[in-house]
């Protein structure tokens, strides 16, 4: 290159850290080890003390109940209902939570007016409202979607407000000095800047959305994993009951890690994406 003013030499593009560090490998060893140890203890306790299968079934029978569940199309129907209610409710919570959050963080009087109500709705035990939703919206999917949305809404709202309020004043100065429009400020500064916070809200929110959907299914109708769980309880099929719980847990994991993948995709520049 004949360019005299390129003073700091550009480093070679490949100079990267090794792809996987030792600390990142550790959970791949410890997690299975701990799970195996837990299952072994469980098995040992059940067989040694002759515990009744109605109280605590052995891990083996829970496992076979779960495998049986995986082969049953009815169980997949329930799973799909729960997934649908969770994701649909979560989507509503996301749109309204982010929209209202940005508005509250931007408009002073809106925050002052809405704050008491937001706090009030925060402290209401929302699960106690589920019967009311069933009364209002019936035993169908709507009441579950609404419970999921209501539960997921608050962490998304509060994190969005926090995110927009934490925007660096210097970054705002840059946009002001560039004469950016309100929309440009939202799209190019507020949204990307608040995104790490919003994703944190989403991580909490998605888990609450599943809880909301399942609690909704406990009380209304006979669809979804929540209803399935109640049915197993009433039938004294404790091993199947455990299997449903495991099924729900795995579902929760999938959603949670889905948001994590979204995080790495959307904000690769942020520390939380672990670059």
């Amino acid at each position: 290159m004949s360019d005299a003013i390129v003073s700091p030499a550009a480093p070679p593009a490949q100079a990267r850290r090794p792809a996987i560090s030792r600390a990142a490998l550790l959970p791949w060893i410890t997690t299975p080890a701990l799970v195996i140890a837990f299952v072994a203890l469980w098995h040992d306790y059940v067989t040694r003390n002759n515990v009744s299968a109605f109280i605590l079934p052995a891990p083996g029978s829970v496992w076979s109940a779960w495998v049986e569940m995986l082969w049953s199309s009815r169980a997949w129907g329930h799973t799909w209902m729960t997934v649908y209610a969770t994701l649909y409710g979560f989507a509503w919570a996301l749109v309204i939570g982010v929209g209202l959050g940005v508005a509250i963080a931007r408009v002073r009087w809106l925050e002052t007016t809405l704050n008491p109500f937001i706090v009030a709705t925060q402290v209401i035990p929302k699960v106690a409202l589920v019967p009311l939703f069933v009364v209002w919206f019936g035993f169908g999917i709507t009441s579950k979607v609404i419970v999921a949305a209501v539960l997921a809404f608050f962490p998304i709202l509060t994190n969005t407000v926090l995110g927009v309020k934490s925007i660096d004043a210097g970054h705002r100065d840059v946009m002001t000095s560039l004469n950016a429009t309100r929309w440009q400020i939202f799209r190019r500064l507020e949204l990307p800047s608040a995104l790490p916070y919003i994703l944190t809200g989403m991580e909490v929110g998605i888990v609450l959305a599943i809880i909301g959907a399942i609690v909704g299914e406990y009380l209304g109708g006979n669809n979804g994993l929540g209803a399935m769980l109640i049915a197993k309880m009433n039938a004294y099929e404790t091993d199947a009951l455990f299997a449903v719980v495991i099924h729900m847990t795995l579902l929760g994991f999938i959603f949670y890690f889905g948001i994590g993948a979204l995080r790495r995709m959307l904000i690769p520049w942020h520390q939380s994406s672990g670059r």
Binding site: D3, A10, S177, R188
Partner: protein
Amino acid sequence: MSSVAREITRPDAAPAAIAMAGIEKWYGTGLSQVHALARTDLSVPQGELLVLLGASGCGKTTLLRMIGGLIEPTGGEMRIEGRPLWRDGRRQDEAVAELGMVFQEANLFPWLTIEGNIALPLELKGVGRSERLARARELTRLVGIGGFEARWPKELSGGMRQRAAIARALSYDPDILLMDEPFGALDAMTRDAMNLELQRIWMETGKTIVLVTHSITEAVFLADRIVLLSPRPGRIDTIVDVPIPRPRTLDAQSLPVFQDVARRLRHRLNEIS
């Protein structure tokens, strides 16, 4: 009639890059009011490198942000290339378009790469992608960070980030560059290097630059003229010309005229604070 108004109406001369008449600033209301800047008249001809120098709290940032249109003056009139910056409490777009700002922090957006940051102003103005990336590449060369276009801001050193911030301010080719202690956070050696670079960029581009600093050495090295501000309330104390030929090298610091100007500034600063 103020001297500024006369200057603007003179038919033969181009309007001053920056002209202010009776500009003042009060912060807050009631008992907690602060008189940050008393009525100030100042005119900056096109192509000048003007330095605002003064002790902490004497209103340098306030004055610079008023020139940049980031805060509205409590009173007085600010003109950019002859056009008023404010009209009925609204900032005027044509005036702002000629202003580029560089802050003490680089203020790069961490979610954009270096070229994304440099090209941001062009993106906001609707310039097409290939054109703005070409411009970003050209500017990284100009400010000496060629080859770092695709990096994230956190992968660059403080000095390199500040170079990128300068490139961002230059991207849309404003006539005037406003810099608030742009090198204040850098170590002495990097700072010297950046001063040389800034002089080179200024000579290559012919911009008007107003730069705020605490450092007497930096002021004398860079400035055509130094405006010394005194505190409580902030106001212009003295204006000093720096008759050192360009391009100046770091050795210029040992010239008698450099030391003379620096000594006068130091004495005056001690007297007024």
